[in-house]
Amino acid sequence: MKLEKLIEDALIKAIRILPEDVEKAIRKAEKSESSEFGRIALKAIVDNIDIAREKNIPLCQDTGMFWCLAEIGRDARVNLKKLEASIIKGAKSAALNGYYRKSVVEDPIYDRKNTETNLPPIISYCLTEGDNITLSFLLKGFGSENCSSVRMLNPTAGEEGVINAVVDMMKAAGGKPCPPCFIGLGIGGTMDRAAFLSKKAFFRKGRESELEKKIKDRLNTLNIGPGGLGGENTVLSVQMLTEPTHIAGLPVAMTVNCWADRKAQVVILGGYDE
């Protein structure tokens, strides 16, 4: 199948059906939530997941902005021009054929004219090990994105400083980002690098680290709860990436994803040079 079609299909599915682990975490929360009101919100969310699947319509009307991380193996065969064109065409077709809401405007400050295509996607190209190309997509809704943020901490702030910064940002978010949320953290680098890592973190593989668990547990004591109605399920996962930084700083970035943690991934084995 052509790459742009693979991308289109993955993106059409992603706004209707959640990744398996995400759906599982939500269903588990619905069974375990002790707040009566939190359970009401979770019940609506679970019903919504079922209706979206059954009727084949988007889980949420905010079908998000296309965010794509293109990781290119240093040994991959690649025609960059065609790769870029396929990502853009695949996204454009998904928006049209998948009944995405037209959610992107051209000029952010003045006329805010809709591009009518959901383009441009936000694409970051990175080099990595191996000979594959991996395209990782987030369908970034803005109810949650408006709650994402970066803090530049003092270099001596340490673990407690990081935890407090994240707790502070989540308190400010409150019920706005459609909790229970999925949290991406980027720590280190520069301000922009930390922000980038906080999105890349959603594709981090492997087991939950000790600090991720500590942060998750702290956030779940805030009693924001599902739908902001209270309860212990404020976040269902925290994923973190760290990188070297400057002696004078400790950047901490948080990306908030709503419960509809929509993602897609397309892996092209050996590269793409057709």
């Binding site: 009401i40 969310i45 919504n48 979206a52 319509i57 009307q61 409150g174 019920g175």
Partner: protein
Amino acid sequence: MSRVLHLPFCEQELSSINCGDEVLISGILYVGRDQVHKRLFEAIVSGAELPFDFNGNAIYYMGPSPAPEGFAIGSAGPTTSARMDPFSPLLLKHGLRVMVGKGPRSKDVVDAVKEYRGLYLQAYGGCGALYCSTIKSVESIAYPELGPEALIKLEVENFPAFCIIDSRGNSFR
């Protein structure tokens, strides 16, 4: 407690709803979000005619995804209410009483709801497919150039919501 709200509302039903109640809405629901609020606000300030009568009506903060064939509307869940906070008190002052959105409101909005005996209901965030199934019909009212943000009118049946601020100004949590 479970309550029902028929729209356009009657005073008795509106005042029977308390914060913390689950509310099933049926009837007419006008839809407008950021840009519509900016325009309604400007219309009030400049004394221009409003595109719909606030009296007895409710506004839902929402911008739907496109309707597939055989559907009245696409996914149709609430957007974040806080962005409407700068505009809502003036709208309440001019007769709007019922708002439906998601998430917390500012103190100014809570105060205005109390002063004008309004109601702020929360719809369940992200549940666009669920709300799609409660919407029977859609009619275009104004500002079609705003695309998914246009002012439209819905007919809904058993639209589930939750009362966050009641007409006495009591807030949930």
